[in-house]
Structures are given as C-alpha cells and as structure tokens.
C-alpha cells in the first residue's frame, strides 16, 4: 500500500576533496513509500534548488542495481538496511514515518570524497589493471564450444562475476580492505579453464596492488559479505588466500 511519510535527514556535505565536511539537517516531507531512496533525494534536491541552495551531489546511473555507481552509508550501513539491495533499489516502504536517517559517503582511505556523497573509486580500476583480465586478443579465439565447461564451474564463476564494483565491501570493512572485491574477480577468472594459465600472476598482481593503493588487510570481520548488495560470498576470499599462498610458494611469477 502506498502512503506518505516524513523523515529527518542528516546529510554529509563536503565541497570538494580538500574541504572539511559537516552534516546538514534536512526535512524530507510527504515522501511516497513507492519511491526509491534516490527518488527521495531527487525531491530534496529539487526543493534545495528552488530555494537557491546547492543540491546534494550523489553518484548514480542505472537505478537498477547493476552499474554499481550509487552507494552511500545510511545509518551506518552501506547501501542501507535491506540485505542484497543497492541504494537505488532500496524503496522508502522500508522506512517508517518519523525516522531519522544519517546519510554519509562511502569512507575508506583509498576513496577520496569528490563532493558530498560522491567518492572517487578509481583505485578499483587500478586493481583490475593489475590482473583482472584474461589476455585474449580480439580475433584469436577458438570456437566457443571447443572447450566445454561444467555447468557447476560456470555457475560458481558466475556467482563471483556478479560483483558490480560498487565498493560497499570496502566501506563496510573496519580495515577498508578490498579482499572481497579482488576475491570475486580472481575467483571468476581462475575458476574458468580460460583463466588458468594466468592464475598465479593474476592473484599475486592484484593482492600486491591492493597493498600499494592504501587498502587495509583482511582480518576476517565478515562485514563485507554482510553489506554486499550482490551477496558475494566470503568463500571467495578463502579461495583467494589459498591461491595466494600457493602462488607465493610455488609460482615462478614473483
């Protein structure tokens, strides 16, 4: 059932990456429970604009939970309270009239705030550049069915490949570690036969890159898995660790 609710927001406002930020208190009135969280922010922004103020900067694009561009911390939880849900897919029916919401950007040493709720997640691209690919030049591929892959393996690789690169795992982690993100990519590619020949290089490259980019280490807090909107499993980290030990000990890729 559709109804309308009123909320109080405390939103992080920060002019740019070098400015100091602070919380601003805003009233969200008459919000339809059918709206998405971002549509609620749209309404606030329209109002701020008409009042001659600057709207809240926030990142978003697909609004379908797949591009990974949205994401803020709502009452301490990246992407808000709903399990397995990105912020753009979170609907206002999960909030009650009178609720107070604290809205902050994803915070991590490796992510600088661009403005208000928008952050710079380019270090995630740098991690992929350190090995998150299979070297297969265009045009050199054999017939797609030349290499059967068991359904089970394909499904496992897929579960890991579903990561949308949003960075919530990093924002959720007390150490701001990127192990779930890397674990997902390494699992996706290393599980598949096509990815095996570069498996050790990939594992070592990505883990080492993570250390140089200011991400922390994994101390098994499991917050990443709990907050991941795509429910990427922490077993991907275990698989990554096993691969890392093996590669460090036995691989010629040093």
């Amino acid at each position: 059932m559709t109804k309308n609710i009123n909320l109080t927001l405390k939103v992080w406002r920060q002019k740019n990456s070098s400015a100091a930020g602070n919380f601003e208190r805003l009233e969200a009135k008459d919000i339809s429970t059918d709206m998405s969280f971002l549509e609620m922010l749209d309404i606030i922004n329209e109002k701020l604009t008409l009042e001659g103020k600057e709207p809240i900067a926030f990142d978003h694009d697909c609004r379908e939970g797949i591009c990974g561009q949205c994401g803020s911390v709502i009452n301490g939880r990246p992407h808000g309270p709903e399990k397995g849900t990105t912020l753009c897919q979170l609907h206002m029916r999960h909030f009650a009239d009178g609720d107070e919401l604290v809205i902050e950007p994803f915070r991590a040493r490796a992510f600088k705030v661009v403005k208000d709720l928008a952050v710079d997640r380019s270090p995630l691209d740098q991690l992929i550049q350190a090995g998150g690919y299979i070297s297969a030049n265009t045009g050199a591929a054999p017939d797609a069915n030349a290499l059967p892959i068991s359904k089970e393996t394909a499904e496992m690789a897929f579960d890991a490949a579903a990561c949308i690169g949003c960075g919530a795992c990093i924002a959720a982690c007390p150490n701001a570690s990127a192990m779930l993100f890397i674990g997902a990519k390494v699992s996706h590619l290393n599980l598949l036969p096509q990815g095996k020949s570069e498996a050790d290089k990939r594992t070592l490259g990505m883990v080492r890159k993570m250390d140089t980019l200011g991400f922390g280490n994994c101390t098994n807090e499991r917050e990443c898995e709990a907050e991941c909107p795509k429910e990427i499993s922490i077993t991907n980290i275990a698989r990554l660790n096993r691969g890392f030990i093996k590669a460090s000990l036995f691989s010629s890729e040093k």
Binding site: E46, K53, E64, C67, R121, A154, I164, L192
Partner: protein, 637 residues
Amino acid sequence: MKLDAKIPGGPIAEKWDRHRFELKLVNPANKRKFNIIVVGTGLAGGSAAASLAELGYYVKSFCIQDTPRRAHSIAAQGGINAAKNYANDGDSIWRLFYDTVKGGDFRAREANVYRLAQISNNIIDQCVAQGVPFARDYGGLLANRSFGGAQVSRTFYARGQTGQQLLLGAYSALNRQIAEGRVEMFPRREMLDLVIVDGKARGIVARNLITGESERHVADAVVLCTGGYGNVYFLSTNAMACNVTATHRAYKRGAYFGNPCFTQIHPTCIPVHGDTQSKLTLMSESLRNDGRVWVPKQKGDTRAPSQIPEDERDYYLERKYPSFGNLVPRDVASRNAKDQCDAGKGVGETGLAVYLDFADAIKRDGQDVIEQKYGNLFQMYEKITAQNPYETPMMIYPAVHYTMGGLWVDYNLMSTIDGLFVLGEANFSDHGANRLGASALMQGLADGYFVLPYTIGGYLTGTDLQPVSTSHAAFEASEQLITAQVDKLLSIQGKRTVDDFHRTLGLIMWDYCGMSRNDEGLNKARQKIQELRGEFWENVLVPGQGSDFNQSLERAGRVADFLEFAELMIIDALERRESCGGHFNEAFQTQENEALRDDDNCSYVSAWEYQGIDAEPVLHKEPLEFENVKLAQRSYK
C-alpha cells in the same frame, strides 16, 4: 553532398571478405603513430578501444561515469544473438540476416545486416575466451533461449545479466591495454564538441566533470560510441546519464543524422507508479518465452487476477498471432498493449498495465526451473513493486527503450564527416525501423571488435593528415562556445529546474511522438517544443558554479540538446509518409491496425543536415535496395 554508403560490390555473402581484402593495411610500425579518440566505454566503445590498442594504435578513451565499467550497456539483461545454430533448429547466418531485416520492417541496409550476422559467431567465441560466463547446459556446452521476432533459439545469455558480463569482458580487455600504456583513460569527462580541421574530425573538447575545466584532445580520427537518446522522453529504461549531446553536437558540426524518429518502445516494463518517478525498469523480453500476456475480457474489471476465471481472460497476443504468440516483435507487442489499455481493459491502479502471467509455466516446469531462468528479474520486480510474481502475475506496460536512429554512417561506419566514425546505438545502422531483442549487444560488439579495427585502417592510410595542435583556432572556437553556454546556463537563474523542463519535454514526446503518431499531434508537439526551448533559455534555474562538480549543470547541457534534437525527431516523423516498425503514423495502417509501409516511395534512410537552430534541416535520402530479401508485409500470424 551526395550520400555514398560505399557498399562493396559482389554477392552479399562475399562483400565483407572482399572489402577486407581491398582495404589498405596500415604498416604495423606506423600504427603507433596514430592517435585515436574513442568516446564512450559501453560495448561498442570498450571493445573498439581495446581492439584498436591491441593492434598498436594509441587510444584515448572517454566516459561520463566514474569508471568505464558503468556504461549503460551494463544494464542489458536478456541476451545476445548469434547464428551458431548450436540448437540445431535450422538457424544460419542467412536466417539471422533475414530475421533482422524483416524485424526492422525492411528499413535497414542489407549489406550491413548481413555482415552483422556473419560476425555474430566470432563475438561469442571472443567473449568466451575472455571469461564471460554464459549459461551452459549439463554437458558443459553453451545454452540458448529464444527471443521476440525469431522462431529459433539463438540467444546466448548470462542469467539476466548478459550486458553486465559482456561489458565486464570488454572492460577487462580495455584495462589490460590501459595497464600496458596503450590506452589512456579519461573517466568523468563529457565530450561537448567535435573539432574539425580541414574538413576532417581531428579532436574533441571535453568537460572535466570534477573540476569543470575544458580539456582539448587532438587525434587522427574520432570514434563516437555514445549510446542512444531514449532519455529525450525523460522516462525510459535508459540509465540516467544517457544523452544525445555527443551525437547532436557532431550533427551541428555537419554529420548527418539518420532516421531520428525511429524509437523503440519496449513492451515489458514495470508500469509508471507516480509523477515523481525518475526512470522506468525493464523486465527482460526473455520473460515472454514463458510468461503469457493477458487482460480481462470485460472492460473495467477490477477483480484480482486470481479471481478472474480462465474463460474471462483474453490472451490477446496468442489469439491474434497464433504462430508467434507472445513472441511477436516489440513494436507489435507494445502497440497491442496500448490498444488494450485504450479500450479500457488495462489493469492495476492506473489502468495502464497488462498481465504477464507465469502460472502455467510454473505448473509445467516447476518453480525451481523458472527461478533458475528468471530469478534475478523476479527479485527485481518484487523489490520495486512489493509483489511476488511467483504468486501473482506481473503487471507490465510499454516504455521507451532504444533508439534505432543515430548518426548516419557508411559501410565503414564513417559518418558524413571524414574521420568521424560512429558505433553501437549511436549510429543508425542495422536495425531499420525496429530492433529485434538481443541484437543491440551483438551490433555494439560487432562494430567495436570486428568492423572498425579494419575500416579505420583504410581511412588512416588513405588520408593526408597534417599535424594539428590544441591551440588551433578550431579548438579555440569550440572552447569559447562551450564556455559561453555554461556561463549562460548559470546566469539565467530562472524559476524552473532542469528536471522540470526535462519532464515536460518527455511528456510532449511520449504523447505525440511515442507509440502512435499523427500529423496533427506532431505539428502541435513541434510548436510546444519550440515554446519550451524558448522558455528554457529564459527561465531555467541552474544552481552552483561552472568550475565545480555540478550535476545540475551537466544535466542542463544535456536537456538543452534534447530540446533541440526533439524537434528533429518530429520533423523526421512528419516527413516519413508511411508507418514502419517503431514509427506508427495512424494515417498509414492496414485494416487490422498493423503498420502499413509504402515500399515504392519510402524505402529510404532519412539523413538530415543541420542548417542552424531555427532553420529547417535539409533532408538527404539514401535509397535502400533489397536484392536478397523479398519485401513483404510483416506477418506474425
């Protein structure tokens, strides 16, 4: 200027091979001397940038989002076609070619479509090699499903996230080239002008979206892969940043715009819930494989769907089109849904919805099978509507989804400006007046992986390219134009927000240039758009500053372009004296209310040449010749 599509001679099946042989090759040592700008990192741009870099070219790649992985292609759900015939159900390159030309209501260029069908198989091979986890059967081989407009099973898919997995494949290839220093990546940049020197595309000016600075980039060729313009309707299934800016500004610099009025309205989207909605969500067409579309037979029947007995339901697609049933092409399915709702049989709170029912499929195959196929789509539906489609039928309604129109290109994918290539949804090619499902992903990747890397070489070797610097007068002029526009937008300080204007424009377009059009409405719309554009430049309120991360300003620039471009769509719709595919003019229909083409007079691509904001654009026609496919009234009965 006379349009020359540069279609190679010879039988259709040999054209592409022959053309590749005849194209001059670039000496490998020379490749690295060429600089190429690729704007956009979707399937078209990502695959093009990576493949060009692998060949040795130096590439600069641009996108609006904070990383290339978030291009709108990521959201494609259903699948990608290829003529592999793995299902052994009689598919072939010829059949894919034929289906695509027919599905496009015979308004596409045969030679391009044939090449697309040929290349489709290489795409699947390439993607599997990159690690794209396509669905497989128990024997470990690739699985297929069927999609609208085809009677064979040729669609490869990765759950309901095919676009995501394909894009991540292209993105990983792109990243490998970034790591090797062959591609320089510029995220959070928006191309705001094309720079032409001596009649050739030689660079772009882009806004750095974080600092607001204008940046000038020189190149030997410019490749636009900037996607479609469905957001001219405000509400669409496209991502929020999708726009017409790059192609529209190239049009204003002299590139002809092809078939701007050909837009696709997708039949299976979640209905609009209220007037604060920001975008519409697609429910993949693959659902029509197992879902049955129906409305109550009685007008104004407000009973819950479970209370309406079988014989009081009208499965109107199955009734009207017994051979294709629920799998008719999109334009047909959409118009039929609209007709049912217009006749008062729509369901849901607004009456603007029809049912898509899985009860029979669940009974037949079991819930687990349905869940495996569509689990994430059902979940998405439930998140948005709070209804469980395993228990009650989905409600769906058509929504703007794809734009077949785009910059006109020849067989080499080059526009009417030398050195300006256009790929993916941004060009007009291949889909005619209606795109079949699962063929946009195919086209984007065909263009980027397998067509442009050859054809651009032919251009670069055969062209005299003098050195150009960023201080050239043409760069200066472009930057001044951009700065003046930004200053103007910020200085108006009117009373209506950018979104407010955009929403108003969207409604005009939806009402008069949507699923069904007529001359009176189109003329009315044209006038309304002109008035709205006038008001925009006097009354828009854009907060903040130019030298800053300013999302309102970004949108203002895009809406300003939509306000100009929408008029071109109307002009094009008025000019075409027939109905075809997604363009349905009520004056041209058969007795059974199907689109009525006029092949004798309207077998052409319209290509519009810009003459100035308030001047009439000039129409050029590329006649379409059909030597291999017999023109026929489409029938899905």
